[in-house]
């Protein structure tokens, strides 16, 4: 057996969950009696604990109230309830856009909210307050209710994190921090890389640990992941959101710094290059759009309580907090002085790297996945040396040109280690499916990024 199955399907305290409000997902750690603020609502999560994931709640007076099955109308139900009873027009000839059709003022609506009226009740008043509602067509009425439902409904649900949702959350929140890695591309990296239990995968990413987490999920605690990283520590903030991964599933993760690859490749042990890192400051490169992509990761077992506590500012604050926490050290063995502590950590890290180096040095890894903001060609050409023959390699980039350079390099390289090199992008289109009104979504995400993939072969001249 690979792993002690996905533990509980009930909402637990102290677990990171995803709050789902309207179209937004948000990771939050649930702690009893601790207030959660999100999207203009605030509440304590106590009532949710022990209920099944997926439960829906309404927020009233700072508490969660379970929406019972029979009351649960959802968006669809609300729409049909509010549009079926009223008459409707055949077309829009009577609609005048003068902004005067709504009788309720902002203040009145605000007051209703303050009085603790439910979203449903407010929605009903808003619809009744609209003098032009009956002049709208049926479709237009539905659209109107839908829009108002989004604004006034306080319904939220609590969902168990999975790679699918975590990837969507990061992509929606700040695509630049995950190299614009869209869900369909992430899914292709995992498939084309043949990532599965018992495989040993080399990962080089600057996607906050999203790709690493997804790979760990697909390994199920069997096999090995060596995350090759830039800087002094790998960035793995996203791994905290992969709350469904067990200790065992996380334990297959090793790490090795990029700046020591030279040692492995030339076989010169011992001499280690120390990077000149500016003290205290997190490493950043100059690539555009990577504000907040701290290279200061943290130990995955070291829980950061407040990471998912507040609204969108978490990156900056969490970074600061981590720097403050730095000297504290995660282990109970309190060292007598700071130097000793530093030395102990250094030795620990060396041990970790040695383990990873031993795995890499077999030069028979089962796959290589690259998704980073750096120029990929030299990284690819170095890491490919650790991959066995007849294994998949997948390189993702937001841009096409660097991958073309990889392609060129692979084609020109004397030894010819790559077979059937392919470069592609994907086209992902969502559809609105409604009776009589099915069509592609009006706006689509046009940037998939690019993938280069091939199979390694034995050196042939």
């Amino acid at each position: 057996m690979c792993d002690d199955k996905m533990a509980s399907e009930l909402i637990e305290e102290n677990k990171v969950v995803l709050l789902h409000v309207k179209d937004i997902y948000k990771p939050i750690r649930l702690v009893k009696r601790r207030k959660i603020k999100f999207d203009k609502i605030s509440f304590v999560p106590d009532a949710a604990i022990g209920l099944p994931y997926g439960s829906e709640f309404e927020v009233a007076r700072g508490n969660l109230i379970l929406v019972k099955e029979e009351e649960r109308r959802g968006e669809e139900g609300t729409i049909s309830q509010l549009t079926e009873v009223v008459e409707s027009a055949k077309d829009n000839r009577l609609i005048v856009d003068d902004g005067l059709s709504q009788k309720l003022s902002h203040e009145e609506i605000h007051q209703m909210k303050k009085d603790g009226m439910s979203g449903q009740e407010i929605l009903e008043s808003v619809v009744q307050g609209s003098s032009s509602f009956k002049d709208r067509t049926k479709f237009s009425q539905e659209k109107y209710v839908k829009k108002k439902y989004k604004r006034h409904s306080h319904v939220l649900s609590i969902i168990k994190p999975t790679t699918r949702l975590i990837a969507q959350y990061y992509y929606a929140k700040g695509p630049s921090k995950i190299c614009h890695l869209r869900l369909d591309m992430l899914s292709q990296i995992l498939t084309l890389g043949n990532v599965h239990a018992h495989s040993r995968i080399v990962v080089m990413e600057t996607c906050q640990g999203l790709l690493t987490g997804a790979v760990l999920e697909r390994l199920g605690g069997c096999g090995q992941v060596v995350q090759v990283f830039f800087g002094d520590k790998p960035v793995r903030d996203a791994l905290d959101v992969f709350a469904h991964l067990s200790e065992r599933e996380r334990s297959v993760l090793l790490e090795y710094p990029l700046h020591r690859l030279g040692q492995l490749l030339t076989g010169e042990g011992g001499k280690e290059i120390e990077l000149q890192l500016p003290p205290g400051a997190p490493l950043e490169d100059d690539t555009e759009n990577n504000e907040g992509s701290s290279t200061r990761g943290e130990d995955i077992r070291e829980e950061d309580d407040d990471e998912f506590e507040d609204e969108e500012e978490e990156c900056g604050a969490a970074k600061k907090r981590r720097i403050e926490e730095e000297p504290a050290g995660p282990l109970p063995l309190a060292p007598t002085n700071e130097d000793e502590e530093k030395e102990r950590r250094r030795r620990e890290r060396e041990l970790l790297y040695e383990g990873a180096a031993a795995v890499l040095n077999e030069r028979n890894m089962d796959g290589l996945l690259i998704a980073c903001r750096f120029y990929p060609e030299p990284i690819l050409m170095s890491l490919i040396n650790f991959i066995g023959p007849s294994r998949p390699v997948v390189v993702y980039s937001q841009f096409q040109e660097p991958l073309v350079r990889c392609y060129q390099k692979l084609k020109e390289s004397e030894s010819g280690t790559a077979f059937n090199i392919q470069l592609s992008e994907t086209w992902l289109r969502h559809y609105q499916v409604l009776s009589g009104r099915t069509h592609p979504a009006v706006s689509m995400d046009g940037q998939s990024g690019y993938l280069l993939y091939f199979t390694t072969i034995s050196n042939i001249n």
């Binding site: 869900l183 073309v404 199979t455």
Partner: protein, 312 residues
């Protein structure tokens, strides 16, 4: 032979994928004394045994060569014998991700078809998950069964020959995910709901026609599935190659070449040339595979909609 674990060298009885350049991949079961004809000549199986996967192997006349690869579900998808239309890796990737498959997942698939998706699912849910795959065509289901056996997957795949729309899956509260590739997928959704675990799960329906999607969505909605989403995902491949662009002679004062050494006499119509690696789009690509409809079934304690009783 197992698709689930890489091994170094070829043994008798292994399935290997042989290929040459961009030509079609050929799956071969290695037998002593066996011969496989390729464009460049004949590959003697005896020469394959003991060879490392990923090596170049020459034909008996030493004129041609092939590369022998370790099978993976993706290479299998590109080389398998087609008995039906098959799903390709782009859709398969999306399906695997959206159905939230991982080691240990239990999955229902209907129908098995040529087994392209089945192999990919089996790979992902191994070593302790399980795939129940249903196919109403008896011969196809038997061939699929034999293939899973040969590919070391039979311990995690159960092939059943039955018509799910008529007979249901015959499973209750057992699976994490259901995949439907049927002409009338809506007829199988109630049975799928029964098959999904008490704690909930995901469903996917693959349909080429929008009318099928429409009916499927109505049924999903009626039975209390949430988070219904429809999408299509297309692969756009590029042909990458070096391309030589000539620079015409534009008169003696103008020389746009970056490589001055290549500049020729200024009386020639072509002054010089540049070589650039280009990405060309292909003129004909698959423009439509099918619509993917996904939905979530929440914990059965909190799902509304008519209760589902499956006739088995």
């Amino acid at each position: 032979m197992s698709f689930l674990k890489y091994k170094a060298a070829i043994e008798e009885g292994d399935t290997v994928i042989i290929c040459r350049g961009r030509e079609r991949l050929i799956p071969v079961i290695v037998k002593r004394g066996g011969v496989t004809q390729v464009l460049g000549g004949a590959i003697l199986h005896d020469k394959l045994i003991g060879v490392e996967f990923g090596s170049k192997v020459y034909t008996s006349n030493n004129k041609g060569w092939v590369i022998v690869l370790h099978p993976t579900p993706e290479l299998w998808t590109l080389s398998l014998p087609h008995r039906t239309q098959i799903l390709y890796s782009t859709d398969i990737s999306m399906i695997t991700m959206q159905l939230e498959l991982r080691p240990g997942s239990t999955v229902c698939e209907c129908g098995t078809g040529s087994g392209s998706l089945s192999h990919a699912i089996a790979r992902t849910i191994a070593p302790d998950g399980h795939l129940f795959t249903f196919e109403f065509h008896e011969k196809r289901s038997q061939i699929a069964k034999d293939e899973f056996e040969a590919h070391g997957l039979s311990h995690i795949v159960t092939v059943k020959c039955s018509d799910v729309c008529q007979e249901g899956f015959g499973l209750e509260d057992r699976v994490d995910a259901v995949f439907l590739d049927l002409p009338n997928p809506w007829e199988a959704i109630s049975s799928a709901k029964t098959a999904i675990k008490r704690t909930g799960g995901r469903i996917c329906s693959f349909s080429p026609c929008i009318e099928q999607v429409q009916k499927t969505c109505e049924e999903l909605n009626k039975l209390g599935f949430k988070d219904i989403g429809v999408m299509e995902c297309l692969l756009r491949p590029f042909d990458v190659r070096p391309c030589v662009f000539n620079i015409p002679n534009m008169g003696s004062n103008v020389d746009h070449s970056t490589d001055k050494s290549k500049s020729t006499k200024l009386t020639q119509p072509i002054a010089s040339s540049e070589t650039i690696w280009t990405c060309a789009q292909r003129r004909t690509i698959p423009g439509h595979t099918g619509f993917l409809t996904f939905a979530t079934l929440l914990h059965k304690d909190i799902v509304s909609g008519p209760s589902t009783v499956d006739q088995i």
